[in-house]
Subunit: 201 residues, 2 copies
């Protein structure tokens, strides 16, 4: 199952913390798909997060995040800055996409942003995260900074648009799109067993 | 628990079909709160449903509705017109708010709109629904057309704004706002038992 994440996205934090145990239990393999919502939002005429553009929705979202994190036992602190650019983290995650440690990096970035209020747009913060996990950051940073990864991220975003993505997290299971961490269980069930009975041809 | 519904809202259909058995089981009493999203959307700069303004989101929503209805065993047909004005139905529902049959009327309207593709903006359609349920439509229509109900609906909408509502369905349990049919179970649990352990002061 493809897991499409934007590091600025609040609900993606809850999803990335929950997805691996659920997938393992269902025998579903995960493919991390970091992408950027900024260009997709700009296409819709938004120059900021909808949670900032629509303050009522934003106020609700922070309370909802607090409730969701409490329910799932996740640490949560409202970041002092929102949204933080996920570009650099997306480049690193893309550079690590085939590395089995990619999920660990992804979760570390979300925790830094949404539990520790650290500036994940900053290379130094991301390098510190890599180091904290006991990895040599140099080859990862070098690859993440390369033109190849820059190009790959552009292609990834083009693919996101092609798939009809408009928010994060999103999941794609056998070509079927699911949006939102609330659909995580449904997406995994689809990836494991195909469409439910009521939707089979 | 307050159940805030807009008759044009797709996901409200799923919620109104599910809410009564869940509430009964939890010992939670329901208060129907019909309101109008139009004025609230216009305040945000939208002159149409966000599902029409943002076509990617709209395309996804119709597929998601199909999946949700299949899962919950609900009939579903994509309406040939969307959104349909919920104004008249909201006036009738408000006129019936203290009537124990209000839930039956509410469900009949949603089924007409989202399972039978009937024009719920039309008085005749709504009168036919009332008649189909074996009720005398005349006193209900008279009350629903009155200035008192017109005023009451304005006040209801002002209250919705005050509560921070920005979409439908929404649920308010002891002052706590929940948005979306995906939060129905959480709202009922809150209404029955108060905040979960992790959120108690």
């Amino acid at each position: 199952m493809q897991v499409w994440i934007e590091f600025a996205s609040t609900y993606s934090y809850v999803a990335v913390e929950r997805v691996e145990p659920l997938a393992r239990e269902a025998g579903v393999t995960l493919e991390w798909r970091p992408f950027l919502l900024g260009p997709i939002f700009r296409d819709q005429g938004w120059n900021d997060s909808p949670f900032n553009l629509y303050p009522r929705k934003g106020a609700y979202m922070w309370r909802d995040m607090q409730r969701l994190c409490a329910r799932h036992g996740l640490a949560f602190r409202k970041p002092s800055q929102f949204p933080r650019s996920g570009l650099t983290a997306a480049r690193i995650a893309l550079a690590m996409a085939d590395d089995p440690r990619c999920g660990d990096f992804v979760r570390a970035v979300y925790r830094a942003n949404f539990a520790e209020d650290r500036d994940i747009a900053n290379w130094d913060v991301l390098v510190a995260l890599l180091r904290d996990m006991g990895w040599d950051p140099d080859p990862i940073v070098e690859r993440a900074s390369s033109g190849a990864i820059r190009e790959a991220l552009k292609k990834q975003n083009a693919r996101a648009v092609q798939l009809g993505l408009f928010g994060a997290p999103s999941f794609v299971a056998d070509g079927e799109l699911f949006w939102g961490q609330d659909r995580l269980e449904d997406a995994i069930a689809w990836a494991a067993d195909g469409p439910p009975a009521g939707l089979r041809a």
